[in-house]
Assembly symmetry: C2
DNA sequence: GTCTTGATCAACCATGTGGTTGAGTAGACA
DNA sequence: TGTCTACTCAACCACATGGTTGATCAAGAC
């Protein structure tokens, strides 16, 4: 579990950079070499290589060999880890919100909240 | 669009920290004050306040007032932005993968790839 | 062998980040 | 009025990050 937490830190951290997000977007359309990936950006090849290392350590990308080229491949599986984390808390928050709405609706029907109604928010 | 890119950078960046992810997880269960949020961690209140500022600027959290308390509320809407971004490229990558599988399956059936088969990977 | 290409490693630099402590602010309360 | 509580702001520090340049490596091309 701690291991997964570290993984989440790396993945979110990797995608916190717009250049790296852009690279992921391009790799979703197909594999590419480092030079190909570097072409659109106004930074050195070394900088791009560093970005790829971050993506690789986050498990978002794999690098193989083809002569002196190193084709980069998007490994979309890690996305699952993120969406699961996000969905979990979103659903939790939304359900809580829904329950609050119900309580508020009842409060409008009557006049002031009773003890019974206030307890509903803490149930479940 | 650039605005949204900046927003994504903030959200991913905010969630790249395990303490902040933990705070989000706890806020999903219900609103809390700064002191309440700080309690489980072995850091100063000021550090927690800084974390909350990051979460707020990412749009993940809203802070209101209740006397000298500042209740923190999770704003789960921003999660949508992330999941949309993630899903878009995951689906793209998975579809590409599926198509590649089809090509490989046919290659196993025959002997070597024909020009027709190689073009299938670029279609769509 | 030597050159060229594609990419990485290493050292360095400026800036950002997460933490600290100390001072200051806003509101409840005696 | 002064004091306590809850919190923020400001200054500082150590370390991480994104960028640079120069050297190096690995594998074709000549």
């Amino acid at each position: 579990m701690v291991d997964q937490d570290d993984r989440l830190t790396r993945v979110f951290g990797a995608l916190a950079d717009p250049t790296r997000r852009d690279m992921v977007a391009r790799l979703a359309a197909g594999d590419a070499t480092v030079s190909e990936l570097a072409a659109p950006y106004d930074v050195s090849l070394q900088a791009v290589s560093k970005h790829l290392k971050v993506l690789e350590e986050a498990g978002l990308v794999r690098r193989s060999r083809d002569a002196q080229r190193r084709p980069v491949h998007l490994d979309a599986e890690v996305f699952d880890l993120m969406t699961k984390w996000i969905e979990r808390y979103r659903q939790q928050a939304e359900e809580r919100y829904r329950r609050l709405d119900q309580v508020l609706a009842r409060m409008q029907g009557k006049d002031s909240p009773t003890d019974e109604q206030r307890h509903e928010g803490a149930a479940g």
